[in-house]
């Protein structure tokens, strides 16, 4: 399996279904680990970076879970492929833009990705659709256990798993849940969520993590504290407290919008559909913005002839690197907008039932 095989589908984790999927897009768990016998990357020379990559690649490819993965050498990949992996949430922007020996092992279903030589030697990511942290954790636990039987991760009796940046030390565990919060955004109630999150030491970021804006009403909620709490504590904070409250808040706000502002809501939703079905050139930002409104219309039952699956897929498939990979080569900005508009019209046209 190679990268090009992924072009015509979206990751399994982006499919619809999954608990609370009207609001929760995906659940992600990430562990940061470093090999005990090497320097952290800021002090590793190119030869040592190469050794780290080989050691981890070996450990992954000889583990049972590793058999269903394929490896992408990021250092040798071109800019388009790197961007493509970022759009699919398989690597971070930092990893795409980094330098030196580095790569990512990805499972065929794309629910598991292991980044080698990002900020730490190893970043393991497990993704699930909807709200499903338990399953994500159990897969993570299997992967980590398998790796721990063949390599030694840096561990400190007091600080736990050691990471290059002390903000990740301890469990090395970062939980991120991706939420679609159009109603809280449009009413401005989202500010309350931000405030509450800050008090609870949670970070809220955009669609592509650190340093990105919340485009298209998507918000990633993640923990900032990684030390002094057990893995179960961190996970249950999300499952039992944070996520259910935000989801309920969004659902209630959606209900209120439908009750009190039905015309304004329908106007927004149907205008979005009108533009998406008729535009001849559209930027990626505008597409995300309009798709977000369309998604709200579908989950609220205002638009019934388009299914959620098609929209979820468009969020990924309509992005620049995806368009270019499908096209088979680089496109300038103007052509990307045209190809994007054509692609969206085509997909939405197919989602619409035929007139007879």
């Amino acid at each position: 399996m190679t990268l090009d095989d992924l072009v015509h589908s979206s990751g399994e984790w982006l499919a619809t279904g999954g608990p609370l999927n009207d609001v929760v897009i995906s659940s992600r768990i990430r562990l940061a680990r470093n090999l005990t016998a090497f320097h952290f990357l800021s002090k590793a020379d190119p030869a040592e970076r190469g050794d780290i990559e080989r050691t981890l690649f070996e450990a992954i490819s000889t583990s049972e879970f590793g058999r269903s993965t394929f490896y992408v050498d990021i250092d040798k990949s071109d800019a388009l492929d790197r961007q493509f992996l970022v759009e699919r949430h398989l690597i971070s922007r930092q990893h795409a833009e980094g330098e030196g020996s580095r790569g990512v092992a990805v499972s065929a279903t794309e629910t598991l990705a292991l980044m080698i030589n990002e900020e730490d030697h190893l970043r393991i990511q497990v993704l699930r659709r909807g709200m499903n942290l338990d399953e994500a954790w159990n897969e993570m636990s299997q992967v980590e256990t398998a790796l721990e039987s063949v390599v030694d991760f840096a561990y400190h009796r007091r600080y736990g798993y050691l990471t290059a940046c002390p903000t990740n030390v301890g469990t090395g565990l970062r939980v991120s849940v991706m939420l679609h919060l159009p109603a809280l955004k449009v009413t401005g109630e989202i500010e309350k969520v931000f405030r509450a999150a800050k008090e609870m030491r949670l970070a809220i970021r955009g669609l592509y993590g650190e340093g990105t804006d919340a485009v298209g009403d998507f918000f990633q909620v993640s923990n900032q504290v990684t030390l002094g709490q057990t893995e179960e504590d961190i996970l249950s904070g999300f499952k039992d407290n944070v996520i259910p409250s935000v989801v309920k808040y969004e659902q209630e706000t959606r209900r209120a919008l439908r009750q009190d502002k039905l015309v304004a809501l329908d106007d927004k939703v149907w205008r979005a559909l009108g533009l998406l079905e008729n535009a001849r050139a559209i930027s990626s930002e505008e597409a995300l913005f309009l798709l977000s409104h369309l998604r709200m219309g579908v989950v609220l039952g205002r638009i019934k002839h388009i299914d959620l699956e098609a929209i979820n897929e468009l969020f990924m498939a309509a992005q620049s690197a995806h368009l270019q990979k499908r096209h088979g080569g680089k496109l300038d900005g103007e052509h990307r907008s045209i190809v994007r508009a054509d692609f969206i019209r085509d997909r939405l046209g197919r989602a619409r039932p035929s007139p007879n």
């Binding site: 470093n34 005990t36 090497f38 320097h39 952290f40 990357l41 800021s42 002090k43 900020e119 338990d134 954790w137 159990n138 636990s141 256990t145 721990e148 030694d152 991760f153 840096a154 561990y155 400190h156 007091r158 600080y159 736990g160 798993y161 050691l162 290059a164 940046c165 002390p166 903000t167 030390v169 301890g170 469990t171 565990l173 955004k185 449009v186 009413t187 401005g188 500010e191 931000f194 405030r195 999150a197 800050k198 030491r201 970070a203 809220i204 900032q224 504290v225 990684t226 030390l227 002094g228 709490q229 057990t230 893995e231 179960e232 996970l235 249950s236 499952k239 039992d240 502002k261 304004a264």
Partner: protein
């Protein structure tokens, strides 16, 4: 885009309000936004933590001299890039780092999670049972006996599985 209030700094806070059914968009810089009482979502920046730590240190000179014998990292270098050079740094910078970690980790200074070789498995049925038990307690406290009865039945079903 410039801040609509001071018209000097770049607007980084973008607000959408509904005022009497009218959407109102405002673009402010962080300072003006916080003056207006808008909580600006802030990530704990390691640099801020480090700077405030160093300001409070009287022995900056002493600290500047320490270097890790294994990777050559100095505390000043760590401070400028925010990344450590090797696992040994955690011991070399000991007290200085402890204070940084404490601030960045909400007061925590000790790991309580798993150690290498330990396996943490989450049993979804057990989790569900805990959730139902908690909701049942809450329902009883609120004297919502209808809900409590439903929850008790669900718990029963779970146990018979």
């Amino acid at each position: 885009m410039l801040c609509q209030h001071c018209k000097k700094r770049t607007a980084t806070v973008h607000l959408t309000d509904l005022v009497k059914g009218q959407k109102r968009e405002r673009h402010l810089c962080e300072e003006c936004a916080s003056q207006e009482g808008v909580a600006v979502q802030q990530h704990v920046s390691l640099n801020d933590v480090l700077n405030s730590f160093l300001m409070s240190q009287s022995n900056v000179q002493e600290l500047a001299k320490i270097k890790c014998p294994q990777c050559g990292m100095s505390f000043v270098e760590f401070r400028s890039q925010g990344l450590l050079g090797c696992p040994n740094d955690y011991d070399v910078f000991d007290r200085a780092l402890e204070s940084v970690i404490e601030r960045a980790q909400d007061g925590h200074t000790h790991h309580t999670g798993k150690a290498p070789g330990e396996v943490v498995r989450i049993d979804p049925v057990h989790q569900e049972r805990l959730r139902l038990q908690r909701e049942l307690r809450e329902a009883v406290e609120k004297e919502d006996y209808e809900l409590a009865a439903q929850l008790r039945d669900q718990l029963g079903e779970l146990k018979s599985q």
